[in-house]
C-alpha cells in the first residue's frame, strides 16, 4: 500500500500539486490519470524521490519515504521497478546486459543464475532470443517490453510505469497493458501507472485516481469511471466527439 498524504509541490512559485491525498492499493494495478499538465508525472517523480515534496508525506507500507535521507532512499529504491516513458534502456548495453545490470549491481547471484533470471524475464515479456540486440535495434513496443523486463528483474515490491503506451499503436498498447497487469498479479506487486489512455483505464484500472489542475479530483475504478457524473473527468473520458455521442450522460 502506498499512502500519499497532503503533498504539495511548486516550481518557480507556481503550484503544480496542491494538497493531494490518496491511497494506492497493495497488489493491484493503480492508475493515475489526468490531462497533460495535471501533475501526474510530478506526483510520480515525488513518489520515487526524483523530486522532493514541499509538504506532505509519502508512505510505503510502514516506511515514510519522504523522511528518509538520500542514502536510505537509494537503498529503498531497490524495491522499486520503473518503466520510463521512453524505456530508458542503456544504449551502450545489449538487452541482456540491461536486464542483468541491477542483478549484477546488487545481488550475489552467479553469472549462470543471472543469465537464467534474464531469460525468465525476457520470457515473461515475450522477448525470447532477443538477448544480444541493442536498444537501437528494437521497435518502440519491444523497447517498452525490454524495459519492463528490466524493471521486474530484481523482483520489486512496487512497479511504476510512466505513460507506458505513449508512442505505441493501439494494438501494442493493449499488449503492454496486459503485460503490466499480468506481472502485477503474478509477482503480487503494487503497480502505479501514469496514463491518459482511456483504453488502459478500462482495461486494467483496478483503482483509478484522477488529477485535475494539480488536485485530486476523483477516485474510483474502471467500472465506476464510465458512469461518473464528474464533469472534468467525463471531458477526459469522452474527449472524442464519437464517444461523447455514445455517452449515456447526455448533459456534457
Amino acid at each position: 500500500m502506498i499512502q500519499i498524504k497532503n503533498i504539495s509541490k511548486s516550481f518557480n512559485g507556481v503550484k503544480v500539486i496542491d494538497d493531494v491525498s490518496f491511497t494506492l492499493q497493495a497488489g493491484k494495478t493503480n492508475l493515475i490519470i489526468g490531462e497533460s499538465g495535471s501533475g501526474k508525472t510530478t506526483t510520480l517523480k515525488m513518489m520515487i524521490g526524483l523530486h522532493t515534496v514541499d509538504s506532505g508525506q509519502i508512505i510505503y507500507d510502514d516506511v515514510v519515504f519522504t523522511e528518509l535521507n538520500e542514502k536510505d532512499k537509494q537503498n529503498f529504491r531497490k524495491d522499486i521497478g520503473m518503466l520510463f516513458q521512453g524505456g530508458a534502456l542503456f544504449d551502450s548495453m545489449t538487452i541482456e546486459e540491461n536486464i542483468a545490470f541491477p542483478l549484477k549491481m546488487f545481488s550475489n547471484f552467479s553469472d549462470s543464475e543471472i543469465k537464467d533470471r534474464v531469460n525468465f524475464c525476457l520470457g515473461k515479456v515475450r522477448l525470447n532470443d532477443r538477448n544480444n540486440l541493442y536498444p537501437a535495434e528494437l521497435s518502440g513496443g519491444m523497447k517498452k517490453r525490454a524495459a519492463l523486463a528490466r524493471a521486474i528483474s530484481s523482483n520489486p515490491k512496487y512497479l511504476f510505469c510512466d505513460e507506458p503506451n505513449s508512442g505505441l499503436d493501439p494494438k501494442t498498447s493493449i499488449i503492454i497493458d496486459e503485460l503490466i497487469h499480468e506481472l502485477t498479479v503474478e509477482f503480487n506487486m503494487t503497480t502505479v501507472v501514469i496514463t491518459h489512455d482511456m483504453n488502459s483505464v478500462v482495461q486494467i484500472g483496478e483503482h483509478v485516481v484522477f488529477l485535475y489542475n494539480g488536485k485530486k479530483w476523483w477516485e474510483g475504478d474502471k467500472n465506476t469511471i464510465l458512469t461518473t457524473d464528474n464533469k472534468e473527468l467525463l471531458e477526459l473520458v469522452y474527449a472524442a466527439d464519437f464517444f461523447r455521442k455514445k455517452n449515456p450522460n447526455q448533459n456534457l
Binding site: 526524483l50 537509494q74 529504491r77 530508458a88 549491481m105
Partner: protein, 247 residues
C-alpha cells in the same frame, strides 16, 4: 554568483561521484572500459599530432638557431624540452579536452535527457558515482601514459625529420636530447598531465550530468565542456608551473 554556484555544485557532484562504489567488480570493469575508451581510442590522433609537431619543432629550431656560437645539438635539446615541458602535457591535453571532454559530456548529457540517469537512480545506483568515477580515475590514470607516448613520438618525429631534411646530424640530435637532462621535469610533466586528465573528465561529466532539455542542450553542454575544460587546463598549468619553477 552564478560562477560560485557552479563551483559549489561541481564539488558536491564530485563528492557523490567519489563515494564508495556499490559493487567494486562492476566499477572495475567500467574503469577498464573507460581506459580503453579514453586512452586507447585517442592513440591514433596523438600519434599523428605528436610525430609531426616534433618534426616541425626540430625544423623551426634549426631555422632559428643559426648563430655559429650555438651548437647544433641545441636542436635536439630544444625539441626535447618543448615536448616534455609543454607540448605533450599541455597541448595534447587541450586536444583531448576536445575529443574526450566533448564525448563524455554528450554521452552523459544524452543519458540525462533520455532518462537513463533517472533509471540508474531508481535502481538504487549512485548514478554520479557509476558514471563519473570510472571516467575520472581512468582519465587520471591513462593521461600520463598517453603523454609519455606523445613525448617519445614527438622526439622521434624530430629525429627523423631533422636528419631527413639535413637540419642536424643523427649524432648531434641524439646528443642534444640527452644534454642537461633533469629527470624531475618528467615528474613535473606527468604530475600536471594527471591533473589535466582529472580536469578533462570531471568538467565534462559535470556539464553532461546537469544537462536539461533536449538535443540542442546536449550540444551546448558538449561545447561548454571543451571551453571550460580548456580554460581550466591553462589555469592549472599556470599555477602548477608557478609553484614548481620558483624563481
Amino acid at each position: 554568483m552564478r560562477f560560485l554556484y557552479h563551483i559549489g555544485r561541481y564539488f558536491i557532484l564530485m563528492k557523490r561521484a567519489l563515494a564508495k562504489p556499490e559493487k567494486f567488480k562492476v566499477y572495475a570493469k567500467q574503469f577498464f572500459f573507460e581506459v580503453d575508451n579514453i586512452g586507447v581510442s585517442s592513440l591514433g590522433l596523438i600519434t599523428i599530432i605528436s610525430f609531426f609537431m616534433g618534426g616541425v619543432i626540430t625544423i623551426q629550431a634549426a631555422y632559428s638557431l643559426t648563430s655559429p656560437l650555438i651548437p647544433l645539438y641545441a636542436i635536439g635539446f630544444t625539441t626535447r624540452e618543448s615536448m616534455i615541458l609543454e607540448f605533450s602535457p599541455t597541448i595534447i591535453s587541450l586536444i583531448l579536452a576536445g575529443k574526450v571532454g566533448g564525448n563524455i559530456a554528450s554521452e552523459i548529457g544524452s543519458m540525462r535527457i533520455s532518462e537513463q540517469i533517472d533509471a540508474l537512480e531508481i535502481m538504487g545506483v549512485n548514478s554520479a558515482s557509476f558514471l563519473i568515477m570510472p571516467k575520472f580515475l581512468a582519465g587520471i590514470f591513462i593521461n600520463p601514459f598517453l603523454i609519455a607516448i606523445s613525448m617519445f613520438l614527438g622526439i622521434l618525429g624530430g629525429y627523423i625529420m631533422g636528419v631527413a631534411t639535413g637540419a642536424c646530424s643523427s649524432y648531434e640530435y641524439i646528443f642534444g636530447i640527452q644534454a642537461f637532462f633533469e629527470p624531475w621535469k618528467l615528474s613535473y610533466a606527468f604530475f600536471k598531465t594527471a591533473v589535466f586528465g582529472g580536469i578533462i573528465t570531471s568538467v565534462a561529466a559535470y556539464q553532461g550530468y546537469y544537462t536539461e532539455g533536449g538535443a540542442l542542450e546536449v550540444g551546448r553542454s558538449s561545447t561548454r565542456a571543451v571551453v571550460y575544460g580548456s580554460i581550466l587546463i591553462l589555469l592549472a598549468n599556470f599555477f602548477i608551473t608557478k609553484i614548481v619553477f620558483k624563481h
